[in-house]
């Protein structure tokens, strides 16, 4: 049997080479004094596990419930501290995405030793059924050590407390120098094994070095530093104008924008050149709220070339609120005029469409990726995007 899954910090094997320590060890009978002291220190460590919550999704709710009256984590001395400096246990509760992971690692590194990590729920343990998706980290133990895994989707508050009790058990076992890991049974984990090795593995993938993680965080940091200082002028609130009826809009589109087709089941197609002007006109008519900007990718077929469609919808605010929507068709290499100057709310939405679909918005003040890390390759909502496209270090 190969000891593939080593304990992450084997304290028994740590070389204590300080001369003072050696001298002290040679004093006979010293252990009579140190053993109770050590027991006291372990007791303190075990019984005051303060939680630093890393709650990103539904498991976080159970974490809150565990601190509430029914289960009451305070009974075992566990309180929740919001700063990593005062936490002992990081409870990762929720799906960790590729963009989130460097932050989680950063916060983990900010916690003072001795520290532990609990992976709460399937998403934190293995990425759950999102684990093959492009943005999801297949288990937090791919980039940081995990001490206790609490199964469940989500685990209930009692299970979290059980996990903390297990952690106490583990702290005690480690102090006594006992191995706390399961016997490795090859093949068991191949079932859901992520494609990269884990931190505790001897066979760990070199692609998952700390240096690389550092790179990723550096990248995002740089990304923040480059934030554009240009201020997008906010559009003037239009209060007087009253939203028009759909006939009027139809007439407007037909007369001024040359739209001839009004399909029953879709928004009318507006030409690429007229689109920004239309947004202005509609805003002046009282359609002051931008509901969405959605881009869709249509891959090349036998008859049609590859193309994009960007759909917009506006709402008039008021008692008789109405919605008007339109589409713009783009060829594969065409760009579309940004409407950020008309609707400030389009800023992030257009960035999101650029990020995920890859449509370029002409005149956008700050067209960068918004959801994915800056070094991501490709646009995942394109139909031709391969789900397992490599993204270091996780895929």
């Amino acid at each position: 049997m190969t000891a593939r899954h080593l304990p992450l910090v084997d304290e028994g094997a740590l070389p204590y080479e300080h001369p003072l320590y050696e001298t002290l060890l040679s004093i006979p009978g010293l252990s009579v004094v140190t053993a109770p002291l050590d027991a006291l220190l372990t007791w303190g460590t075990k019984n005051a596990l303060w939680v630093f919550p890393m709650a990103t999704s539904c498991c976080g709710i159970e974490l809150m419930a565990a601190a509430a009256s029914r289960v009451d984590l305070d009974r075992m001395g566990t309180i929740i501290r919001a700063t990593p400096r005062q936490g002992d246990v990081m409870v990762v509760a929720g799906t960790i995405t590729v963009k989130m992971a460097p932050r989680v690692k950063l916060l983990w590194d900010q916690m003072p030793e001795p520290k532990w990590c609990i992976a709460m729920g399937s998403c934190a343990i293995s990425g759950d059924f999102y684990r093959d998706l492009y943005p999801v980290v297949p288990g937090v133990d791919t980039f940081m050590p995990v001490d206790v895994y609490i199964p469940g989707c989500p685990p209930n508050p009692e299970a979290l407390m059980h996990g903390l009790l297990r952690l106490q058990e583990k702290i005690g076992l480690r102090r006594e120098g006992k191995l706390t890991q399961a016997e490795y049974r090859p093949g068991l984990l191949d079932l859901t094994k992520p494609r990269v090795g884990r931190l505790g593995d001897v066979t760990r993938d070199a692609g998952l070095s700390d240096a690389q993680l550092e790179d990723v965080s550096d990248m995002t940091r740089r990304d923040l530093a480059e934030e554009s200082s240009e201020i997008v002028p906010r559009a003037e609130p239009v209060r007087e104008a009253i939203a028009s009826s759909s006939q009027e809009i139809e007439a407007l589109l037909r007369d001024d924008f040359g739209v001839t087709e009004f399909p029953k089941d879709a928004a009318p197609l507006v030409s690429r050149g007229d689109h920004r002007r239309l947004a202005h006109r509609l805003r002046a008519l009282g359609y002051a709220q931008l509901i969405y900007v959605v881009a869709t990718h249509f891959p090349a077929k036998k008859t049609d070339p590859e193309r994009f469609e960007v759909a917009y919808a506006l709402r008039s605010i008021g008692r008789k609120s109405t919605v008007v929507a339109w589409r713009v068709a783009l060829a594969a290499d065409e760009t579309i005029a940004s409407i950020v100057g008309v609707f400030a709310g389009a800023d992030w939405q257009e960035r999101e469409q650029f990020d995920l679909v890859g449509v370029r918005f002409e005149g956008h003040p700050d067209l960068r990726r918004i959801l994915l890390p800056a070094d991501w390759s490709g646009h995942p909502l394109r139909k031709d995007y391969a789900a397992d496209t490599a993204h270091p270090p996780w895929r």
Partner: protein
């Protein structure tokens, strides 16, 4: 020289007593808070969770000491020590019985106000020295807050000074023992002055509803955001010491200190102090936090004018109404 020995002896005793009381105070607070939320509070560590504060402290002392790279090392290290020193220093002039007092200063009230006012310096040093934006925001809030609560605090404390005609706290207590407790009689300047004092003291010891510098939901952990292990323990202790000493001060200034029938003075002083201490925690776990501007408005537009009025009333009382 004799006085020096006396001071050192009693000072050590009082400091030890306070520090061991706050260990129990932490336990009590957690139990009390738990019961107020229909929880149990600590139950597992020790009988009824009594050993929980000790476990906390043992754990905290074992934690790694992290100093942020760009922190102002000197201030960062100095702040927690200063906080404990300032909060314990106030206790030096509080009489716990006619004889148990570390130093019976002639100007005890000034000492209390001065040292209490110094608390803003460790807070500021911690916030600024951490090189952390949340800590810095906490420090800025602490200073703005201290400018606001300082004036009503001084005005409220001056009421017993004027009524008793003494600046020494043991003198004030002795006066009350001979006449009436100030919270009871004369009730008009006495009781409102105590309320103002209580509010200002909550603000000074950063307790809810005025824990604006620490505001956990906004500022992560406020000024203590970057503190780990032992240094955080000091801050944690200083907070409780400050609250306890503040309660003792309130008991001495407005509730007659060690004065009381049947039992020796120390019993009464401890009882009164702990009652105020419990009151503070009751308030802490019941109310919401004020916004910084709300606190300032409260202090400047309500407490300060009322304090001035009370001071005038008490001066008039002394001039026209006699002393009892």
């Amino acid at each position: 020289m004799n006085e020096l020995v006396h001071g050192a002896l009693y000072g050590t005793l009082i400091a030890t007593a306070i520090l061991s009381t706050i260990a129990m105070g932490i336990w009590f607070e957690r139990k009390f808070a738990g019961r107020m939320q229909q929880r149990l509070g600590p139950t597992i560590v020790g009988p009824a969770g009594l050993l929980q504060p000790f476990a906390d402290i043992i754990k905290l002392l074992q934690k790694e000491d992290i100093v942020p790279r760009d922190a102002d090392r000197g201030l960062f290290d100095l702040a927690p020590i200063l906080a404990v020193v300032c909060s314990l220093g106030v206790a030096a002039v509080i009489p716990f019985s006619p004889s148990i007092i570390a130093s019976d200063l002639d100007v005890g009230v000034l000492w209390v106000l001065g040292i209490g006012g110094l608390m803003v310096i460790p807070t500021f040093a911690a916030g600024w020295g951490s090189n952390n934006k949340f800590a810095l925001l906490g420090a800025m809030r602490a200073i703005a807050q201290s400018v606001s609560y300082g004036v009503p605090l001084v005005l409220a404390v001056l009421v017993p000074v004027v009524l008793s005609g003494s600046l020494s706290i043991s003198g004030i207590v002795a006066w009350q023992a001979q006449h009436h407790w100030f919270a009871v009689w004369p009730i008009v300047p006495g009781l409102p002055a105590f309320v103002i004092f209580f509010l200002a003291m909550l603000a000074e010891s950063n307790r809810i509803p005025f824990d604006i510098p620490e505001a956990e939901s906004e500022l992560v952990a406020g000024i203590t955001t970057e503190y780990t292990g032992a240094k955080f323990t000091l801050f944690y202790m200083a907070e409780y010491v400050h609250t306890l000493v503040g309660s003792a001060l309130g008991a001495a200034l407005f509730f007659g200190g060690w004065d009381g029938p049947f039992a020796p003075g120390l019993h009464w002083m401890v009882l009164k102090t702990l009652t105020l201490f419990v009151l503070i925690y009751w308030v802490r776990w019941s109310l919401l936090r004020f916004r910084a501007d709300q606190l300032m408005r409260l202090c400047w537009t309500w407490l300060t004018p009322i304090g001035v009025a009370l001071l005038l009333v008490s001066a008039a009382w002394v001039t026209f109404g006699g002393t009892n």
